[in-house]
Symmetry: C2
Subunit: 375 residues, 2 copies
């Protein structure tokens, strides 16, 4: 129940043990094609170029940055957490001219600041994190999307923690490149990164004057495999069968129903935490249902508590990253892990672990508040 | 029985279905540590920085190139097949000054040509493919290694098809960066790339004046996870458990015994092919035991024959790549796929598939010649 990997459905485990077949086998290329069909509704896109890069979510981040951003390109990085800053680092490695808008960790980027920046300078790309895994903030996208359109800037969007858990609207927002990961709300093991690129992004790529530095993650070369079925890399049938099965399960549940389940379970969890006398880090209107940051009560030994949960209950929650280290816990309610029984278990385990450090919480109130939401 | 992925041992399939755990879980970090211990003997190295990059073999190639090669660096690329040329493309994307030594596809690089090049210019890095998957050639390394030492050049070595199947001597040859893959002689599914870097390579990295363009494959950042157990990427426990199990199986068999098995099965296969009246593409002294290029007999429809094998016998062999397209078949005898029963099956299936195209071969002679080697 940390920031991922989330729990894996038994059907996905079975898929992982399927016989390995060749990356150019006609039967496997069908899976490659269908992967795109299953991912598009989650991204909210009709983009032809939609599939999964052969690496973790960070490989998808690098694929988006390395393809869209070149030397001297003006890039506006919206940073309100650890991953927004990771994108900035990648842009700088591509020798872009980077301008940053930084927000306190726990708040989203203010569209007014984006507007002010866009009025001062012409930007090729704006980078945005839709769901900041380090803070538990969900970035409202409508205003930033409108501003980007008005000023002719492309948007590069991190949906690592949002894809499959809340609505992502790549086409409606006019996103040009977005990436995610396999191991959070989609519920597959880590190792793959769903990505999607707009036709405008592909056009921009074709007019680049410098080659994409990465051969492995050059999206036009990857398209030569995904789209044209030519050899580029030895795609892992193991991981792709797992992702395929996880996506089938998501569609079987129904995309809308899946979002509703994640939201309801989040409301139950936050109600429970607050009724127990603890506090959520993010203001209610910006909370990400999938990644919940809980403020660590004063006087609690963070590392000792997380070790206690792991040793006594085989239960993992995340510590704070960067600016929030030691200040919050990160609780994932993603994919197969987003369930009433997990919430009850965690509230209960937290009360025991806190009691072991002499910190009293009202578990009965917490359970009752959570159950009111769940029923 | 193509150029990989090879067959997977049942124990590895079981490992792939192991419960997914977090990349920073203490129990998992033990696996990360032990991965290095199990890989070092295969690479023939004591290099501390030894582990597996989170991507296919091409991610390992890119990790080696992007870290060792920067803008303006003089690089000597030894090219005698498809993958040597892929390294060249990557070096050029890093803005290196590339000089090429090209050989006919089916022959190794001539050390005299390397010596001539080294006398003309000072090179920072020489790139070499130990086992060229596109041609079935094993590159003799002693002379090139000696020349590189004499002229103070680093060697970047591709061991994608050799690691775990024939001896690799990273320390003895003085290799500074080498990479491989998980799905060939090691016998794990694709998705990971074993790599090793020398201390000299790390020193060179620290004196770079430009940042490594790739954040995902920056070996110093990866070392921060493998060595210092800090967060960098969400390592796939699924694939790493598979690789771990495959490496345990290799050590259980015995490294020397494993090399001997691969060599003996190769000799049986080539004896069978030649006794059936067909020809190997590579001269006997340069044949790679693991990847066997068989010349396609005149008048045979290549694609139709491979489709026949796949449809009738669920048997995959590889077609020729690049300059050898339509001229050779590529037969992998790697890892769990390198066995007497596979050899007999393939000789038999080939004779049937050729007969279906009206080409007669002497299967009885082929079987008898193969069995003489195997007994």
């Amino acid at each position: 129940m940390g920031p991922g990997p989330s729990e894996i459905h038994p059907a996905v485990y079975r898929a992982l043990a399927s016989p390995v077949i060749g990356h150019l086998d006609p039967a496997y290329l069908e899976v490659v094609d269908r992967m795109a069909e299953l991912l598009r509704p989650l991204f909210g896109t009709k983009n032809r170029l939609t599939n999964a890069t052969p690496g973790t979510g960070t490989s998808g981040m690098e694929a988006c940055v390395a393809n869209l951003v070149g030397p001297g390109d003006a890039v506006l990085c919206c940073i309100h957490g650890y991953f927004g800053d990771r994108i900035r680092q990648m842009c700088e490695r591509q020798e872009a001219e980077v301008t940053c808008i930084e927000e306190e960790w726990g708040k989203p980027t203010d569209p007014d600041k984006v507007e002010a920046a866009l009025k001062q300078k012409r930007f090729k790309v704006i980078t945005v994190v839709h769901a900041e895994t380090s803070t538990g903030v969900q970035q409202p996208m409508d205003d930033i999307a409108r501003l980007a359109r008005q000023h002719g800037a492309m948007i590069l969007l991190d949906t690592v923690t949002s894809l499959g858990g809340v609505e992502v609207k790549v086409d409606e927002w006019g996103i040009d490149a977005a990436y995610s990961c396999s191991q959070k709300c989609i519920g597959c093991p880590p190792g793959l990164s769903p990505v999607t690129f707009s036709e405008r992004a592909l056009e921009a790529l074709k007019s680049r004057t410098t080659p994409v530095r990465s051969w492995y993650l050059d999206i036009q070369l990857l398209d030569g495999y995904w789209g044209a079925h030519g050899y580029h890399h030895t795609s892992s049938s193991t991981l792709n069968y797992g992702l395929f099965e996880a996506l089938l399960l998501a569609h079987e549940e129904g995309i809308e129903q899946r979002f509703a389940r994640h939201l309801k379970n989040h409301h139950a969890f936050e109600a429970g935490i607050e009724a127990m006398g603890m506090a959520m880090h993010v203001a209610a209107e910006h909370r990400l249902p999938l990644l919940n940051t809980v403020r660590i009560p004063e006087g609690v030994d963070d590392a000792a508590l997380r070790q206690y949960l792991l040793k006594s209950f085989n239960l993992e929650i995340g510590g704070g990253l960067g600016a929030l280290k030691g200040l919050v816990w990160r609780v994932g309610l993603m994919g197969h892990s987003s369930s009433p029984e997990k919430i009850l278990l965690l509230l209960s385990a937290l009360s025991v672990a806190l009691a072991a450090q002499g910190v009293k919480t009202d578990l009965a109130e917490g359970q009752s508040a959570a159950m009111k939401v769940l029923q």
